[in-house]
Amino acid sequence: MSDTLAQPSSGRHSSRAEHRRAAVLGAGQTHHRSKRPDVSIAGLCREAVDRALADAGLGLGDIDAVVVGKAPDLFEGVMMPELYLADALGATGKPLLRVHTAGSVGGATGVVAASLVQAGLHRRVLAVAFEKQSESNAMWALSIMPPFSMPLLAGAGGYFAPHIRSYIRRSGAPAHIGALVAVKDRRNGARNPYAHLRQPDITLESVQASPMLWDPVRYDETCPSSDGACAVVIGDQAAAEASARPVAWIRATSMRTEPTMFAGKDNVNPRAGADAAAALWARAGISSPIDEIDVAEIYVPFSWFEPMWLENLGFAAAGDGWKLTQAGETEIGGRIPVNPSGGVLCSNPIGASGLLRFAESAMQVMGTAGEHQVPGAKTALGHAYGGGSQYFSMWVVADSPD
């Protein structure tokens, strides 16, 4: 780079680039279903990409770089499928990155795409995340036990259910809180035309009557396995200002990682999540999340994770998250609406689930969420986590740049 672009070096951070503004220009997603036999992997991705571009009023020719996210390649049996997908994603001849940070990958995809703009490298970046889980079987792929170990793995539910039990014990939450979340999310999902599970008539009683899969987690408190994709177009300030449509300004992003298992790990309230949230709020200038965030799309694959993450994110004090749920404060119209889209409990194409949270948060502040719009939403959180509650990615978007 030429010397004229470099700042004179007079202090520790003096030569750094200014953190440039970035905004979501458009978001799109597929109709999520347990099986999408009507499309190929490429067709599934393209359905989301075309909707995102239409939402942004742009074409593939306007895109400078593509970031792809998805969870394990074993789900589709394709090694680095973005290689084969280059034409379908309009990436041929352009830079293409493939992110994989376990279940948080959709969020990480959004963060990396935002970084490419914030670093001043590109004007418009396309983030695409997908999973076509019906190509194989997620329980199988997540339960392959290498030799020598106890063959006890039973998918993500088997992994997380014991930690949910720990949360219930630690917080003293009533047993029905998980079912309350399920009822809310599934009813919200019924307002979302893209949701996989749409159950307007679900009740507390029906959730509590559903089979116990991984005690204490019931069938109706569990995310489905979905085919689906999500795409988001992120632009720089000039692109955002040139857009004729509402945009969602990215106020802050944050990612943190800790080891899967270690002596002293808090599986209920992981420090990586708390640290990521603290950094996020600081960067976004938010001092009281519950007062300053209008709507949150939080990665809740098992219903009990709503109160757990409310605490981890700082919306409630440790042990108090369930009280917000119980009081109905996480419903649309409540103090902190959580997952008006229905969230992961209604649609879970794993690799895309994080980006869906990010996209839905953007849609809320753009005012384009339709029937699941939170009225007047100006500032929103998108959140994802993955691995053994060890990878966290999140962002705050708002209807104005500052």
Partner: protein, 358 residues
Amino acid sequence: MSDVAVIGFAEAPNVRSTDGTTNGVEMLVPIFREVFEQTGLTKSDVGFWCSGSSDYLAGRAFSFVSAVDAIGAFPPVMESHVEMDGAFALYEAWVKVLTGEADIALAYGFGKSSAGDLRRVLALQLDPYLMAPLWPDSVAVAALQARLGLDQGLWTERAMAEVAVRSRAAAMSNARAQLSGQVSAEELLAAPMLADPLRAHDCAPVTDGAAVVIIAAADRARELCERPAWISGFEHRIDSGQLGARDLTRSASAAAAGTAAAAGAVGAAGAVGVDVAELHAPFTHQELILRDALGLAEPVLVNPSGGALAGNPLFAAGLARIGHAARQIISGAADRALGHATSGPALQQNLVCVMEAR
């Protein structure tokens, strides 16, 4: 754009097979220690970590999650992972430093290629409907590319053998290389075909390994390294995945990445203005394609480390090329250097990092 430089590099010995795990920890712990000793840094100085690895290389979903044990990632770290060569992890790390969110970033890549049948595993990188079900192995696909150039008179079997001769000779000064030695083109050409028109010497060996590179923002780089390798251009591009629809004798993506990366460089020892280039060419003819695409002619020194033909740890080899190129600058041997990484069948995706002394 702010200034960022490579200030440290280490790689694990390139070997045919380690007895370590596929999560790379055994290879990573020593090279993290080595790169921290080089730079005087500790893990708490690193603001952003990014790794590159592959689940299919390891034969397991989420195979990379245990690799963070090598970091000692508690208190939690700002970290990301790409399912790509570590060179692309370095790119993501560079982006993070450019945004100002980190002063110092560390990228690593690791791969235990020996865990599975590599040639079959890599067949899964091909179109899953039209090609992968036939299980074309990775050497066979490269051989199709090699013959195209041979038939068109773009290169000869001797020219290919000479690439291998240079690689092995250069690797004699690289203690971590897997293959090295003095051989003649005649000896190599006398060997039988492995996958006609490729002989064994045309193909990179199967290698286990890992690599790590540390980059730092301007003032930190100057403070930590006497002669930082300043990144003047960092670009990557991808070509179509339709093998039969692109000209395999050329690399459009490498050329485009090279041109874009050179735009930031001053001087002109070659088209991209470098003294030395480390190319990630897993096959001899691919080095010839890349030299052409990147405009590397005499007197540019290519692959003083021996390159990928002397050791090709998948998901680390590209990052190692950038590391070796940077080392040329840091040591004072070169003023401008280019590191290259490739990904996908037949050079489908290419990354170019141009660095310079200032």
